[in-house]
């Protein structure tokens, strides 16, 4: 069965949006409570590689897109997540599931101030020690 169908079947109503581009990029949205289940399905069961996560400051909240790649096939599965509350943006960390997400989440945390629950090592990665606390370079406005 196609990976797309498996995802649609397994996640069912948890998928809140689904979009495919002609260039084989698949974007689908889930609620932030469902990210662990989605990641487990994509990473552990379907064997996709976690490529990276892009976080953006949008007018309606922080948007995190997790990009998963099936090696050997041409698609990119991008899981879209919206954190409406900018003051207390928080989402479950993927690092306990696989360590490859550690640096990516640390970077998002320091650049945008999104907290990752259960992250084992949430500390500064790129910015200097004297960087002012509470100042996030990639936030807009």
């Amino acid at each position: 069965m196609d990976k797309r169908d498996i995802i649609k079947k397994r996640l069912g109503a948890k998928i809140i949006s689904w979009e495919e581009t002609p260039t084989h990029k698949i974007y689908f949205g889930v609620k932030k409570e469902d990210i662990l289940e989605t990641a487990r399905l994509l990473f552990r069961e379907l064997g996709l590689r976690f490529s990276t996560a892009s976080a953006t400051d949008t007018p309606s909240g922080f948007e995190i897109i997790y990009h998963f790649v099936p090696d050997g096939e041409g698609q990119v599965y991008s899981v879209r997540l919206m954190l409406e509350d900018k003051k207390q943006a928080q989402v479950d960390s993927l690092t306990p599931m696989f360590p490859g997400a550690e640096w990516i989440e640390r970077e998002i945390w320091e650049m945008l101030g999104i907290n990752f629950k259960n992250h084992p090592n949430l500390k500064r990665l790129l910015l200097a020690e004297d960087w002012p606390e509470g100042d996030y370079p990639l936030r807009k406005g």
Binding site: T23, K25, R49, S51, V69, G74, P99, G100, W103, L138
Partner: protein, 404 residues
């Protein structure tokens, strides 16, 4: 009595897009733990990119890394062209061929560079000098077709900036012909040398499962038997129209990583030759004017692995979000598992095996935690690594393999 020693490798580390500062926690000879601190080279390119015009960003991302200076712009333009409908749909055929040629030439020069440095770390300075000697003709080719030895400025949205002239093609082919015997020499020298085998086999092993958990990409992953190559999967360039194969090794040690890189150079030479023969005549630029709103993803197999760019556009002339993930970002993190358990004299080559950089090890220093006094500097550590090779060599000559 056991006393722990911290070995800082760093602090800032120039030769890589992500400079690293490693702290090795050493007990006796064994590396017990490693702490990786990065950020000494962070220039805020993602933020800068949001303040630049779409055409300017290509020049900006070219300066993320000097060694992959065609992979980053290529991944970036692929992301932008993804919004426009894909590379195959809008870019003229000849331009795609030229992009592929530049990208593969860059792979040869990058792998030769790594090979030389790896040789230097284990005390084979001849390998260093020879590899860099054969790298020069490749840079000359770059100078001939792009006008610069590094930072080519070739790739733009919708095509390439310069054409490859007909009279340049024989020169390129001649360079490739002359490169092949050099590659044969390297292959022979490394695959058949008992000392190199003893020095690199079983060192810095990453298992298949570790590769998957740490999301490692590129030659490092392929050396552990993971079948991935973005060139084959992502459908960019002309790789689907050309005969080539993905190089995969099983062992996952430094030796396997070396072999993967050497064999990949042969593939690259083959790809460039076929491209030069098949390249059609025609336009090189589609002359793209506006970028519509939308989001796009571009993936390119850089010499070190998958290079990932994500672009979000709102229809103005600047991206509103540009996410960049360079391959070493994933690979360097995996040092955490590959180094632990090895000896200090093996740490240099293990850290270098993912192709991170040279200068980190140049500024290697052993610090004793008790009085915080430097007892060894960077050269001493490389010397330590080189002495181990020398001892192995002497042991071999005296008929005592494994001595030392």
């Amino acid at each position: 009595m056991s006393h722990k020693i911290i070995v800082p490798i760093g602090p800032y580390h120039p030769l890589q897009e992500e400079p690293e500062f490693f702290q090795l926690f050493v007990e006796g000879e064994r590396v017990e733990d490693i702490d990786i601190i990065i950020g000494y080279n962070h220039r805020g390119i993602e933020k800068l990119s949001e303040s630049k015009h779409f055409d300017q960003v290509a020049f900006l991302v070219e300066r993320i890394c000097g060694i992959c200076s065609s992979s980053h712009p290529y991944a970036y333009v692929l992301a932008v062209e993804d919004i426009l409908g894909g590379e195959a749909k809008i870019v003229p055929e000849r331009a795609i061929y030229i992009r592929t040629i530049v990208d593969e030439l860059q792979r040869i020069h990058s792998h030769l560079l790594w090979l030389g440095l790896a040789g230097h770390f284990i005390g084979y300075n001849t390998v260093w000098m020879w590899a860099w000697k054969y790298r020069e003709p490749v840079l000359d080719c770059f100078e001939m077709i792009t006008g610069n030895r590094n930072n080519y400025g070739m790739i733009k949205i919708g095509g390439v900036r310069r054409d490859i002239k007909d009279e340049d093609i024989p020169v390129l082919k001649k360079t490739l012909d002359e490169l092949s015997p050099a590659l044969d020499m390297f292959k022979g020298a490394i695959m058949d040398d008992p000392v190199i085998k003893m020095r690199l086999k079983g060192v810095g092993v990453l298992s298949r499962q570790q590769i998957i958990d740490w999301c490692v990409v590129g030659p490092t992953a392929r050396a552990s038997g993971v079948n991935m190559d973005v060139r084959r999967d992502a459908g960019y360039g002309v790789y689907d129209r050309i005969n080539w194969s993905v190089i995969i090794e099983k062992d996952g040690d430094v030796f396997a990583k070396t072999i993967v890189r050497i064999l990949e150079m042969y593939e690259s030479v083959g790809i460039i030759r076929q491209c030069l023969d098949k390249m059609p005549k025609g336009d090189i630029d589609a002359d793209i004017k506006d970028i519509p709103p939308g989001e796009g993803i571009g993936r390119v197999e850089a010499p070190r692995g998958e290079c990932f760019h994500y672009i979000k556009s709102d229809g103005t002339n600047r991206p509103i979000r540009h996410k960049i993930r360079a391959p070493s970002y994933m690979n360097v993190a995996s040092n955490k598992v590959s180094v632990i358990g090895s000896t200090i004299s093996d740490a240099t080559i293990t850290l270098a095996a993912v192709d991170p950089c040279y200068c980190c090890t140049e500024r290697l220093a052993v610090i004793n935690r008790a009085d915080n006094k430097k007892v060894m500097n960077g050269w001493d550590l490389i010397k330590l690594s080189q002495e181990k090779t020398l001892k192995l060599k002497e042991g071999l000559e005296n008929g005592r393999p494994g001595a030392g």
